[in-house]
């Protein structure tokens, strides 16, 4: 029971990280119908920006809450630049091209980002000293002490706040309306006087900044990153997006939580070596039997 509870806490934390990345996949897929392969690497860049800023702020001695807010903001701004640039360079020229072209271009961009970070920051893993320490302990008299760390509370809280803000953004503002209009019919939206290119750019900026928040959390939670983390996290987050129903933002969060839980329970109860297999199997099973996900719209084939 105690062990189960601990896995549940860990799973929800991990799920928050995946959920935030998955939103980027889901939004981009919704609006231009492509899998943004480089999104996982954008997340990785976010984690690196966070790592660098944590190291720099450690020298200044600013108090912790301000550092956290600053690091989140810095990571969001700089990573958003990456998302914006990737879209401008690699996807925008291909918008009217044939189906596989953007996918290949995204694959190329993913290779570029990974190896660029490797070249600039070195191939070795980077370790960050714990930023937030301590937590609550439960069941102190039993054999297995359940820990809910402050860091985990922080991660889940930030995720909930961001989710709320971005859901409002999508459902209540002009920008969100423009995005949903682009999803339905881009030509018609352009005729209504909406700048489609700018809307798509904004989508990438939002997606990348959310991924960078996930990156900040990842580097704080695990404390170890390297240039390759984006690949696996990207696939898992994509699985989350599909599981929740691609195109749906609450679905992405839900899918993220589920993937986080599946992964932690799998490594907790079955086998830790094969924990990535759990995510992959989920992906395959979901795509085969359940391609619309929980909250997605069914895909109607038109002749």
């Amino acid at each position: 029971m105690e062990y189960f509870l601990q896995q549940l806490i860990n799973g929800v934390t991990l799920g928050s990280v995946y959920g935030l990345i998955a939103i980027g996949y889901t939004m981009v897929y919704g609006i231009i119908g492509m899998i943004n392969f480089a999104h996982g690497d954008i997340f990785m860049v976010g984690a690196f920006v966070a790592l660098i800023s944590f190291i720099l702020f450690a020298l200044t001695g600013i108090s912790l809450p301000i550092v956290l807010i600053l690091v989140l903001l810095i990571a969001m701004v700089f990573t958003a630049c990456y998302g914006w640039t990737v879209e401008k360079l690699a996807y925008k020229p291909l918008r009217k091209s044939f189906r596989l072209a953007p996918l290949i271009s995204a694959l190329g961009m993913s290779i570029v980002l990974q190896n660029y970070v490797q070249a600039a920051q070195g191939a070795r893993i980077k370790t960050l000293q714990p930023v937030i320490q301590g937590g609550f302990n439960f069941f102190k008299e039993s054999e297995f002490v359940v820990t809910l760390s402050y860091l985990q509370i922080f991660i889940v809280l930030v995720t909930i706040v961001l989710m709320a803000v971005f859901t409002l953004l999508i459902t209540r503002t002009a920008l969100g309306r423009a995005q949903r209009a682009c999803e339905q019919d881009r030509t018609m939206t352009a005729l209504m006087g909406i700048n489609v290119d700018r809307t798509i750019s904004t989508t990438f900026i939002i997606g990348s900044s959310l991924a960078s928040v996930a990156g900040v959390m990842f580097v704080m939670y695990y404390g170890v990153i390297d240039f390759y983390i984006g690949f696996l996290a990207g696939i898992k987050a994509f699985t989350a997006a599909v599981l929740g129903g691609i195109g749906s933002i609450p679905g992405a969060m839900l899918g993220g939580l589920l993937i986080g839980l599946i992964e932690t329970f799998w490594s907790g109860y079955i086998s830790i070596e094969y924990k990535d297999i759990a995510a992959f199997t989920t992906l395959v099973v979901v795509l085969i039997f359940f391609p619309t996900g929980f909250l997605g719209k069914p895909d109607i084939e038109k002749v």
Binding site: A90, S105, V112, Q129, I277
Partner: protein, 420 residues
């Protein structure tokens, strides 16, 4: 060129510079290095300034160039089109010349060990490209996990050869068969998925096989890999300087001096023949009903369904045959390296093979050869700059997609035409 145009491009390049600063400032400018187990930041502002300046100036010249191009629009002719037309007219002669060149290549004066190794590597990729071309180019199924079949071929060859001591020529078909069976096994549930979903699922399968190879220690020795895979022999004659007692070797049989190059040259011809078989098979099968069904399915699945083509079985044959050739290439890889580990079968290999096929122009056999020479050549040229070479590789993928989205040889001749 008006004054306000200059002003506008200057403003534009200034903006580019600012964005470049935001992009490269933190990641390139602040390098994290471990000092006494603690990470510290090492500033590298000079490089950042250099990159930013390059970006801004580059942007300015691109602006001017595209302005000039707009002035004289219409006369531009693309290199790819010229190559494609040329290959179209002289296709057969060029193919014969290329094959002839590759046959005499090992006896060229400059063909030393280094060049032979590159040639063998390129031919391996060409063979993989041709094998995957059946899946991507003909049947239109984007397979991002092709390396899984390469791995299955390599491991089944290695395991059979090590444990049973069977010769290369026995193990080769078995490895191909195994890989083909895996193709059917993996393909069966997933082939009804749409293009990009299929891509992700095949990617997942590829990674699953790699993780399995990494963790199934009893069978695969995990990350340590399999060593001591038997080298191929020349129809029973081994390439050894000091053979075991009573065993005739290649050089004694033919009365030659022992030279390690003999084995390399044999391997070269081996992969050349395997690759050419793949090519010949593809050219033939394109004209058969199943090959035509593949191409029809690629163009319009719904039309095919209504004309009575079974999409699942048709796709499955393409997947299995592609996988089989991947398995053949895998067993060649195993016997050439004499050592395999899961390291060799990462996702990046799949990406390289897919890039070869798509950048060459999907479905074009010549395109595969051209893009292999270009991409593998690119990786080789940048050999001394370890991580920059993959940056260049990825960049080339993006650039080719932007300028020639249908690949280098985009023009495709229909396999069958009406009348004439």
């Amino acid at each position: 060129m008006g004054k306000d145009f200059i002003q506008k491009s200057l403003k534009d390049s200034l903006l580019t510079g600012i964005i470049a600063l935001a992009l490269f400032g933190p990641i390139v400018g602040l390098r994290t290095v471990a000092k006494n187990e603690v990470l510290v930041v090492e500033p590298k502002w000079f490089i950042v300034l250099l990159i930013v300046a390059l970006c801004a100036v580059g942007r300015f010249f691109i602006n001017i160039y595209s302005y000039k191009k707009e002035q004289r629009r219409g006369e531009a002719s693309s290199l790819g089109k010229i190559i494609a037309n040329f290959l179209d007219e002289k296709g057969a002669q060029i193919a014969i010349a290329a094959i002839a060149f590759s046959i005499i290549f090992p006896f060229m004066p400059f063909a030393d060990r280094y060049w032979m190794d590159i040639a063998i590597m390129m031919l391996t990729y060409i063979m993989l490209g041709w094998g995957l071309n059946i899946v991507i180019g003909l049947a239109g199924l984007l397979d991002l996990g092709y390396v899984a079949f390469y791995a299955v071929g390599a491991y089944s060859y290695a395991l059979f050869a090590i444990h049973f001591g069977w010769s290369f020529w026995v193990c080769l078909p078995i490895a191909g068969l195994f890989a083909g069976m895996f193709g059917i096994l993996l393909g069966f549930p997933v082939l009804r998925l749409r293009g990009d979903y299929l891509a992700i699922v095949t990617l997942a399968f590829g990674e699953m096989i790699r993780i399995l190879l990494l963790n199934w220690y009893e069978l695969t020795k995990g990350p340590d890999g399999l060593t001591g895979i038997p080298r191929p022999s020349f129809f029973g004659l081994p390439f050894k300087r000091y053979p075991d007692e009573g065993v005739e070797t290649f050089h004694t049989f033919f009365g030659l001096e022992y030279d390690p190059m003999q084995r390399i040259i044999f391997l070269y011809y081996l992969i050349l023949v395997l690759a050419l078989i793949t090519n010949a098979f593809t050219i033939k099968i394109r004209r058969l009903p199943v090959g035509r069904a593949w191409e029809a399915l690629r163009e319009d699945e719904i039309a095919c369904k209504s004309l009575g083509v079974n999409p699942r079985n048709t796709k499955l044959t393409a997947f299995a045959i592609g996988a089989m050739f991947g398995g053949f290439a895998g067993s060649f890889f195993a016997t050439r390296q004499a050592f395999i580990s899961p390291e060799s079968f990462t996702f990046i290999e799949s990406a390289i093979i897919v890039a070869i096929v798509v950048l060459g122009g999907m479905g074009s056999q010549t395109g595969v050869v051209l893009s292999t020479i270009f991409l593998i050549g690119l990786i080789e040229v940048f050999r001394d700059f370890e991580s920059y070479r993959m940056v260049a590789f990825g960049g080339a993928m993006v650039l080719i997609m932007i300028f020639r989205p249908r690949g280098i040889l985009a023009k495709r001749k229909p396999t069958i035409t009406m009348g004439k």
